[in-house]
């Protein structure tokens, strides 16, 4: 029961134990528990961030849809406008073309009529002269009816 050198042996053992407990029990376990605390904290903040990001994404999606709708409406209006434009243009072009064609045709017709008239009057005058000659050969002298034949030719 006396204090002996055992005291010092036990003191050394105690110091060694503190070192060993720290090395093999305290240090690994407390660093692991610290890591766990960190992991839990990270997980919580990650889920918080995830929630936030989800909210942002939802807002963004709504925005994108809205923009797309607007753009579609705009495009539709533009297309409608353009189609009307194209139709008008086509109509105008067609009208102009048809008018041009009609005018050309009418001019041609006029020219043809004029030419036919001239041709006809020429042939009628020839026929009249031939007819008159045949009649006059029998009864009348060409000199007598010259004035009325000329009048006929002029009328034709």
């Amino acid at each position: 029961m006396n204090i002996t050198v055992t005291l010092f042996a036990q003191m050394i053992a105690f110091i060694a134990m503190i070192w060993l407990v720290n090395r093999f029990l305290w240090a690994p376990l407390s660093s692991m528990m610290e890591a766990r605390r960190q992991r839990i904290a990270d997980g919580l903040s990650a889920s918080e961030r995830g929630k936030h990001e989800l909210k942002l994404a939802e807002e963004r999606a709504v925005q994108v849809i809205k923009e797309a709708k607007e753009r579609a409406t705009e495009l539709l209006a533009q297309a409608n406008g353009r189609s009307t434009e194209i139709l008008d243009e086509a109509r105008n072009n067609a009208k102009a073309e048809s008018e041009r064609v009609i005018a050309g045709a009418q001019a041609e017709i006029g020219r043809e009529v004029e030419r036919a008239k001239q041709e006809l009057s020429k042939q009628v005058s020839v026929l009249a002269v031939i007819g008159a000659e045949r009649i006059l050969k029998r009864e009348v002298d060409a000199k007598v009816h010259e004035a009325s034949i000329a009048d006929l030719v002029a009328r034709i």
């Binding site: 029961m1 204090i3 050198v5 055992t6 036990q10 720290n22 029990l25």
Partner: protein
């Protein structure tokens, strides 16, 4: 033990025999081999258990033994944080954990039937063996003195040498009673390690002694009618004391740890914080 007669001389001899260490050397140079051997074996057990837990650490969902170890660890950590707050010192928590676990295990040896280990060792020729290291004053005082050394070291480190001397001069009665202060503070400081070591030693020694006295009830008794009374009484008393002693060994380990933390915590308080 069978040869010992249940007489006055036999009783004294029995108790003295149980309180004698297995030792080598003489006088101051006596080395209590049983104390050293058992405490080292228990220390090795702690280190072994620590290595086993440390090898397969589960960060996610711990189970079984790791859970228990973590519980003890957090308990100790809470005690240290309560006492130290922000004055962080990496040594204190491992020290407190060592004290708690090691002292508890050494105390636990007290719960092993008093004759079991000596009787077993008697068979291999060892005649004296004290299985409880904390019933050896050397063990408890060794720890208490180391805590005392640490207390002085941190007192000087935190307060400075001048601050430490000032503590002796001006506490607890101020600057007009310097001589009284010196005596008072010296007693106060010296009483800390002595009471710390003696408290644990006394409790464990007394506990061991009560176990011995209970064991004496039927020691060397012959088969007779009186045994019908003494044997059941011994069993009942033994179980009762055993259950009570579970509380005592835990409480003493806890008290030793808390006082270690508190003493070291006090050493970390600077002058202006008083």
């Amino acid at each position: 033990m069978s040869a010992v007669e249940n007489t006055g001389g036999g009783t004294v001899e029995y108790i003295q025999h149980h309180l004698t260490n297995w030792s080598v050397g003489q006088g101051f140079w006596t080395l209590n081999l049983d104390t050293i051997l058992v405490s080292l074996m228990l220390g090795a057990l702690i280190v072994f258990a620590g290595m086993r837990v440390g090898r397969n650490l589960e960060v996610g969902a711990p189970s079984g033994f790791q859970n228990f170890v973590e519980m003890v660890l957090e308990f100790v950590d809470t005690q240290v944080k309560d006492s130290f707050g922000k004055r962080d010192n990496a040594l204190i928590a491992p020290l407190a954990l060592t004290v708690l676990v090691w002292v508890w295990l050494m105390n636990f040896m007290d719960l092993i039937p008093v004759d079991l280990i000596p009787a077993a060792l008697h068979m291999i020729g060892l005649h004296e063996f004290k299985a409880v290291p904390t019933t050896d004053l050397n063990t408890t005082m060794a720890m208490a003195l180391f805590v005392f050394v640490l207390t002085v070291y941190y007192n000087i480190k935190v307060k400075g040498l001048v601050g430490y001397i000032k503590m002796f001069l001006f506490h607890p009665f101020g600057k007009f009673l310097v001589p009284v202060n010196m005596v008072m503070t010296a007693i106060e400081e010296l009483a800390k390690p002595i009471s710390l070591g003696l408290r644990l030693f006394g409790n464990m020694f007394a506990g061991e002694l009560v176990f011995l006295l209970i064991a004496l009830l039927t020691l060397g008794a012959t088969i007779s009618a009186s045994l019908l009374i003494w044997f059941p009484l011994q069993v009942v008393l033994d179980v009762a004391w055993l259950i009570f002693h579970i509380l005592v060994i835990t409480l003493q380990a806890f008290i030793f740890m808390v006082l270690t933390i508190v003493y070291l915590g006090m050493a970390h308080i600077t002058e202006d914080e008083h």
